[in-house]
């Protein structure tokens, strides 16, 4: 079976103006959302308390609210369904630092008589730990991007590195926009998903860039947009196939993974789609826009090869003792 024949080259760069326009609009929309609605930090980053309760039957949310109202520990607590009608989470901004007084026990005591239930999870994240996790999270995101930038610049050329980073920032921005739009709680797992998107999207970009590098060094054509179109076409089957399989896997995770992995899977799902799009329609056009000069690169490569040859010659001379 084959998705694409290698007989004709698609004109991707011809459509890149429209794609760039779309990307700019989407990125701006994402930032507008981030600024107005804002990210919904979960307990991991904002600090707070989560108690997850599962009932044998449908959870009596109204009754639970009444019962918890009296206790000041549950001031401003929100009670929402979690995955199924039987299961709810109680969220609070406050935390208790006392090791012996447990919010799980307090909840159990307060809900006694409201039905047959089980407390399945208690998460307490103190404000200090929360801000520390946030700090570490942002640091890790920046460090990962930096590390990748250096590697790509070393393996390709600085314009390739910058283009791939722009694509990465594009992807993470859109993913954050989607998370804000849906109103997901941003916890550690979402951060992990964002870092995975970085890796995935970069993967895609590098496969295309590798082809472009190959086209530039080996091919005779010196028109960059033609090389890019050719390279994207050649890798299109791989891009489609890998994106589809990854999409399948993440989609099953999203459908069957359960509520607890929901946010992670959602973020990845967005990332797979956006990452595939960006490697074709964001990274490559930017490379083009930067005015990467193929002829100039050829000259540079030739000069480098000459230097290497000269070095080898010198070494050979030195080793044979003719100096």
């Amino acid at each position: 079976m084959e998705f694409f024949k290698y007989t004709k080259t698609f004109n991707f760069m011809g459509k890149s103006k429209f794609a760039m326009f779309l990307s700019v609009v989407l990125v701006l929309a994402s930032y507008a959302l981030l600024m107005t609605k804002g990210l919904n930090y979960g307990v991991d980053f904002a600090g707070g308390t989560i108690v997850q309760v599962k009932y044998d039957t449908t959870a009596p949310i109204d009754e639970m609210r009444d019962r918890l109202k009296g206790n000041e520990l549950f001031n401003n607590a929100s009670i929402t369904e979690f995955g199924s009608p039987d299961e709810v989470v109680i969220r609070m901004k406050s935390t208790t630092g006392n090791v012996t007084v447990d919010i799980g026990d307090v909840t159990r005591e307060a809900l006694k008589g409201s039905g047959n239930f089980e407390i399945r999870r208690v998460d307490i994240v103190g404000p200090k730990v929360g801000s520390e996790l946030k700090e570490k999270g942002i640091t890790s995101l920046i460090l990962a991007i930096l590390g990748i930038l250096i590697y790509v610049a070393f393996r390709f050329e600085w314009r390739f590195a910058v283009a791939s980073i722009v694509a990465l920032v594009h992807d993470v921005s859109l993913a954050l926009g989607a998370i804000t739009l849906v109103g997901l709680d941003v916890n550690l797992d979402v951060l992990a998903a964002l870092l995975t998107i970085l890796g995935y999207s970069l993967n895609d970009t590098i496969i295309v860039f590798d082809r472009i590098r190959e086209g530039v060094t080996k091919g005779r054509n010196s028109e960059l947009s033609d090389i890019i179109d050719e390279s994207i076409t050649r890798t299109l089957a791989r891009t489609t196939l890998t994106s589809l399989t990854t999409f399948f896997v993440v989609f099953t995770l999203f459908i069957f993974g359960g509520e607890i992995i929901h946010a992670f899977a959602f973020t990845l799902l967005v990332g797979v789609v956006v990452g595939t799009y960006s490697s074709i329609f964001v990274a490559s056009p930017i490379l083009l826009a930067f005015g990467f000069d193929v002829k100039n690169y050829h000259v540079k490569l030739a000069a480098k090869a000459k230097r290497e040859a000269e070095k080898d010659r010198m070494r050979a001379q030195f080793e044979s003792g003719v100096m």
């Binding site: 006392n98 090791v99 990748i148 970069l202 993967n203 496969i207 890998t242 399989t245 896997v249 992995i261």
Partner: protein, 523 residues
Amino acid sequence: MRMKLNYRIVIFALAIVFGVFFSVPSLMQTENGKKVTLGLDLQGGLHMLLGVKTEEAVKSRVKSIAASIKHFSERKDILIDSLKFTDEAISFTLLDTDDTKAMNAFLSEIEGAKIVIDAENISLTLTDEEIVRTQKQAISQAIETIRNRLDQFGLAEPVVARQGEEKILVQLAGIKTQEEEQRARELISRAAKLELMAVDEDRAARVDTMSAEDAAAYGDVILNDVANPDRKYLVREIPILDGSMLTDAHVGFDQNNRPLINFSLNSEGAEIFGDFTGKSVGKRLAVVLDGKVYSAPNINERIGGGSGQISGDYTVLEAKDLAIALRSGSILAPIYLMEKRSVGPSLGADSIKASMIALIGGFILVIIFMVVYYRLAGIIANIALIANLLIILAIMSLFGATLTLPGMAGIVLTVGMAVDANVIISERIRELIYQGVSIHKAIEDGYSNAMRAILDANITTLIAAVVLYAYGTGAIKGFAITISIGILASMLTAILGTHGIYEMLEKKIQKSKNNRLWFGIKG
């Protein structure tokens, strides 16, 4: 048809043998052999990050120095007055300056203290280094003590470790019931600070009308009775001795068969205790635990031998935990909760079930897809994929790594990346076959052409994984670990392994001339 063995296939075969051998204990849950540990999010348990109020440790260090000064002056009949202490300093006056030399000799033995003697006024301040040292020691001591206590609690493999400079990580897997969790938390947080204190008999009668400030003016404190909070005791603020001189504590029973705790003191403690009781016949001695008076018996005679009892209204289990806490030593500085995550076993089981469904479902989809698209080349890729999974599991079992829920997600992603490598290779081979080169050349060039892209892609992902590992916590670290292991394993399986298989089958492929069967293309 003779098939040629090559070094790649040999390494691949060895890797598969390794993978099968070390993953069997985890897969089959055999009795022996190293298995993958399930994270707390999958098997249920309690994770806590504790902080230490180190300033309290400094305070109690000052307090114990004050106690030793008092004891020294009483033994040597040196008269001192207005012994006071603040958070970091002690001051007192000598009534007879002839004792200055003896007192100075004693004080200069105390480590990390700066002593200022101004005629009869003596002051002692802890140096900054000593304060830092005391704070550090308080954390180490808390870790040590909590570890000792949990080791005796009866759970398998409790984790107690320092995290960062001043945090303590406690992980208890396999806590099954709420009661068990409650007990563990109490055992961890209990200061278990035992103090034997003298009741201030001169003013004891007025205790109910006294305020805390009044008491402090006399060098006393007011403490409540443990069973009856309305009952108050006025005791001297500086204890006669504390739990640091305790050598043993165990559960015993009184004549009514109620549990109590017998404790014994070391020789120094026994001497101080003997001296004090000898001098204080007719007065009361308060047995104070964590700031509450458990009993205050009359001293009838000098008590030598250095043993005593703590009676209270507790169950046998509570007495047992209390004895453990006393034996392990007290926690000098109070600890507080910075982070807690507790997962019930049923939620863990649900998470395993859901992620297994996702993992297996996704895996089967990918495998079918590869065979439909690439035919035999797809099957070769699938062999590599299964080998990859086994090797990940084997390495994780071998190193006793922990499999968390994000770790499972990491494995799912690795499956995707390993497949990607084979997709890239197969596409390259197809392309070369279309160009009309020989099967041998198509395979060799296909691999070498694909290699650069695969390596670059894998290395950048590894960079992200390493950063995640360095900056991530708990469960996220698990994600980084499985991804890293998965990528390394995929280089072995998806690149080297499949190459070996093609090399072995090369002649066969060439002879069959059936590119549709082998690579899923015409021609």
